[in-house]
Amino acid sequence: MRKYTITNTRFAPRLLLGSCLLATALAVQADTGQTTAATELKQAPNASSATVSQLSAGQSLQIGTRQGAWYQVKTPQGEGWVRMLSVRLQGGTTRSGESTMSGLASLAQASRSNTTVATGVRGLSRQQLQNAQEDLAEVARMNQYQVSATEAQQFAQAAGLPAPRR
C-alpha cells in the first residue's frame, strides 16, 4: 500500500509536512542513485521506524530530499527513507535533494551556472600552479571583504544560528 502519492519525478508537497528542515520546500526534483549495500527502506527518516522493504545492493532509486542522515527515495518496491551512506549518487548528478527550488528555478540556475562555467577560467592544474607568478595585489583585494567577529555574530543571529560557547 502506498502511503504517499508521488507525481512523476517530483515528490508531492504534503510528503514534506511536519519537517521543520523542509518547511520552505515546495517541490524537489529527484536525482538518481543506487544502493551500495543491502539496506532497509524505512517509513520515516529514523532507524526505529517501520521497514517498508528490504533493498538489495545495486538497487536503483530516485532520490528526493534529505533529512539528517536519510534520503527520501522512490524504488520499485515502494517509497520511503534510506540511510544516505547506503546510497551512491549517479554520475551526471548535479544536485542532491537539498534544494528547495522548483524545477523552473532550477533550470534558470542551471543556465546561469553554465554561463559561469563557460566564462570561468580553468586554471588550477598542477601546470598552472608551477607557472604561477605571485600576485600580492590580489591578496590585498581580499581585505575589502573581511568580516569582523561582530558582523559574523549578527549574520549567525539573523538565521538563528547559535552564538559561540565561550
Binding site: 551512506l85 549518487l89 559561469t116 588550477l124 598542477r126 590580489e138 581580499m142 559574523a152 555574530q153
Partner: protein, 291 residues
Amino acid sequence: MRYSTTISRLTILLASVLVMSCAAMRGVNVGGYDLTPLADAGDKIAKSTAGSTEQEETEIGRHMAGTLLGASKLSRQQNQQRYVNRVGRLLTLHSTRPNLTWHFGVLNDSDVNAFAAPGGYVFVTSGLLNMLDSEAQLAGVLAHEIAHVTHKDYLNAMRSNNLLGAALDVGAFVGSAATDGKMSSTEREFAQRVVNASKQVYARGLDKSDEYAADKAALDLMTDAGYDPYAFVAVMQKLEARSARDSGMALLLQTHPSPTDRLAEMSTTMDTMRVPSTVQTLEKRFQQSVR
C-alpha cells in the same frame, strides 16, 4: 679569567634558554652583558621546533595565497565574496582560533576545488560553489579548510619536507620588510622560498591523514555552529558522483583521498555524532546570496 667565567656562564645560560622560557632572560645582566639578544636567539630556535609565531604564519600564508592567486584570480562577484566571508567568519568563531585574521575568497575558476593557506586564508572555486545547494554545504567545504589552518597542516607539510630551508632563517626574514614599501632583499628571498614551497605543497597535497582529520573536524565545527553536518556528507557524495567524468576535478583528486574513501572514513564519525535537532541547512539564504 673573569671573561672565561662569563663565557662559561653564558654557555650554560644559552643552553638553558633552549629548554626554558626565554622571557625570563630579558633584561638579565651577567657580568655587564645584557642577555636579551641571547633570549631572542633562543626564542627563534624554540619556535623552529615548536612552531611559528602568528606573524610568521600569516606572512607565510600571505605569500602562499599570493601564489594561488597567481594561478587563479578572485571572482568579481562581490555578493559571493561577501557571503562566503560571512559564513566562513561565523564558523571561525566556533574554531580554536577565533581571533586570527581570517580571509575567505571565491576563485573565478570552473575547476572544483578548495584551498587553505596558513594564517587564516581559505579559498573555494566558483566551480565548487556552483555545485552546492545550501549554506550548510558551503559551511562544510569552508570548515574543512578552516581545519587545515587551525591544525597548521600546510606549515607542518612545509616544515617536515624542509621546504623553507633552515627554520631560523624564517624568523629572520619576517619583519625585515623595508619601510619604503618595497621588499628588502631578505624579504624577497623569504617570499621566493615560500612561493616555491607553496607550488610543491599545493601540487602534492597534504597527508591523507590530514584530510581525514579535516573532514572529521569539519563535521564537528558545522554542528557547533548550528549547521546540519550531513550536508557535508552530501557534498562528498556529489563529488563522488562527479569525479569519474569530470576533468575539472583532476587536481582535487590528485591531492586528496577519493571521495569514496572519505565517505567511508566519515561514516565512522557519523556513528557517534550527536546532532541537535535544531541544526539548519539554510538553502534559501544560500540561493539568495550566491545566485
